[in-house]
């Protein structure tokens, strides 16, 4: 079995320490960094994402896999910067103002990183202005808004309007998600994409980044 396949398989099992060792081994063997990332770490996370979508694995398995990915990615990051390897896109994510729930948001973040995206985590209770600021000043191509409450999901519409007011609506895509959010709601407020689960959200964000 190649070291990259071993990385992928150990990552899927959440064997963080082994993944770290194997990534180091791959680096030492001179395998290009981009290849280690794509065919090792991201390939493993991709399998986890598919299984999550199909209800074959659940949140705990995703967490340990993401932890393993991060351990491996930490070794690759300085080398990626040196070699100019770019992320698949850059997004910002946060739970909207008034809402402090972050479990779903964090899961989406992990899945997105697992797709090779660079994710700016704005945390919870995020004002519309803070999303716009991240898009304008940090170069995020996609804004991702999460809400658990019917009370707070209305803030997502304010984010859409704030993007229009700031004059960046045509430069940025806006994704929405969270328990009470629906496709109808997404269309009603003029957001670009609703996804029902974290893995689908990650796939959608990659597509949106490509399209911009």
């Amino acid at each position: 079995m190649s070291v990259l396949t071993e990385i992928s398989e150990n990552l899927q099992k959440g064997k963080a320490k082994i993944v770290k060792q194997l990534v180091q081994q791959a680096i030492d063997e001179g395998i290009p960094v981009k290849q280690i990332l794509d065919e090792g770490l991201l390939s493993g996370m991709s399998v986890i994402g598919e299984k999550f979508k199909n209800n074959e694995v659940f949140v705990p398995e995703v967490l340990v896999a993401a932890c393993a990915m991060n351990m491996g990615a930490a070794l690759l990051k300085p080398l990626m910067a040196q070699e100019g390897v770019e992320a698949a896109g850059k997004v910002c994510i946060g739970t909207v103002k008034g809402d402090l729930h972050d479990i779903g948001k964090n899961l989406v973040k992990m899945m997105m990183e697992g797709k090779g995206l660079e994710v700016v985590d704005l945390g919870t209770d995020v004002s519309p202005e803070a999303y716009i600021d991240a898009a304008q000043n940090q170069g995020c191509q996609v804004i991702c808004c999460s809400a658990l409450f019917t009370t707070t999901m209305g803030v997502m519409e304010e984010v859409v309007k704030a993007a229009e007011t700031a004059g960046i609506r045509d430069k940025v895509k806006i994704m929405v998600g969270g328990a009470p959010v629906t496709q109808d709601f997404c269309e009603k407020i003029g957001a670009d994409k609703y996804t029902p689960d974290a893995a689908t959200a990650a796939d959608a964000a990659v597509e949106l980044c490509k399209a911009i």
Binding site: G14, F58, P60, L63, L100, I103, T150, T151, D197
Partner: protein
């Protein structure tokens, strides 16, 4: 029949006279209740003639939460309160009645740190009035509830952090077992206090569902959580075989319903209509468990018309034609729920009783 006799008859699958009501208002809606009705002192629970009341919250033996401060070093500020289990709650100016949780054991590395964590004990000494307060509710004709939601899984994650605890369950089993065991022992103490005080209903709960899926695999649920819940319920039913056990989990939990029934629950709450089809759930499980809730607080309660609220209540009662449904909103009613929809829910219950 009193409210209590009526509700307990429903819960014991006996003939009952009228459709009981139950709802909970968030602080903003509670203010609206006072504005709309002009009632200054009368609690909304009395105004709406709800069927039950909560018995007093249990008082721990040690109420001094300063013993938890070392677990929150560097993050205590005026916006943070520490609860009786040592969990920090930080409010923000925009977060209404919600708080951000600060997990006291999130950095723990060793099992000993878990074992030494000073969770409180609970005893009759610190709760001398409990049985009397329960009896007072019964004398008022009201059913009594010992509210113990966040029984095992949620309290454990509030201590350890959900992500950490889930990772422990897969990669550090000793750590996970230490957290779960500690919380289960505390919850058994609390449950027995309520049971021995004579409450009609023990209301347990742990969220194990998400909107469209379960939080963890059934294997994992059966390894870590269900057996501990089962042990707690069996201890309670040893001393109070007649007690009715409610169990709450938000979200989609269909794969766990058989396991919850096996654990000994009597009533499942809230059957979130946005996540599960009540008719299908009712037809599959109603011979073994009763239901509480079913009126969606993500959909019809905030966004429906009063007529749609009524039709939902009646539709669900019609589904439960063989009984076993205590129809109610599926969650706390949040600020955006129109007052008219709240009134419509209460009226729908009354009108269904009259039709019946």
């Amino acid at each position: 029949m009193t409210q209590r006799e009526n509700l307990m008859a429903l819960l014991r699958r006996q003939p009952y006279e009228f459709v009981p009501t139950d709802l909970m208002l968030c602080p903003a809606l509670e203010e609206e209740y006072h504005r709309r009705t002009g009632e200054k002192d009368l609690p909304y629970q009395d105004y709406f003639q709800l069927a039950w009341r909560r018995a007093p919250e249990l008082i721990p033996d040690d109420t001094d939460v300063s013993r938890f401060f070392p677990y929150h070093q560097g993050r205590i500020n005026p916006a943070v309160t520490i609860d009786e289990w040592g969990v920090g709650h930080e409010s923000t100016p925009t977060s209404m009645h919600m708080t951000k949780m600060l997990f006291p054991l999130e950095d723990a590395q060793e099992v000993e740190e878990i074992e030494q964590y000073p969770l409180p004990t609970y005893s009759t000494t610190s709760n001398p009035q409990l049985a009397q307060k329960v009896e007072e509710l019964h004398k008022r004709g009201l059913a009594s509830v010992g509210n113990m939601q966040c029984t095992i899984w949620e309290t454990s994650w509030y201590l350890r952090g959900m992500e950490n605890l889930m990772m422990d369950m897969l990669t550090d089993e000793e750590m996970a077992a230490a957290v779960f065991d500690k919380v289960t022992e505390m919850s058994i103490q609390r449950a027995l206090l309520y049971a021995n005080a004579g409450v009609d209903i023990l209301f347990l709960g742990d969220d194990i569902g998400m909107q469209n899926s379960v939080m963890m695999s059934r294997d994992m649920y059966m390894e870590w959580i269900q057996p501990r819940l089962k042990r707690l319920i069996s201890k309670v039913k040893e001393v109070r075989p007649d007690i009715i056990v409610f169990y709450h989990s938000c979200g989609y939990i269909e794969p766990f319903i058989d396991d919850l029934i096996d654990a000994g629950i009597d009533v499942l709450n809230p059957i979130q209509s946005e996540c599960m089809d009540f008719e299908q759930i009712y037809n599959t499980f109603h011979d073994r468990v009763l239901f509480h809730g079913t009126v969606g607080t993500q959909t019809v309660m905030p966004f429906g018309t009063p007529q749609q609220v009524k039709e939902t209540v009646w539709h669900n009662l019609d589904i439960a034609k063989e009984g076993g449904l205590f129809v109610a909103p599926t969650h706390l009613l949040e600020p955006e729920v129109p007052w008219e929809n709240i009134v419509a829910y209460v009226e729908a219950c009354k009108e269904y009783s009259q039709k019946k």
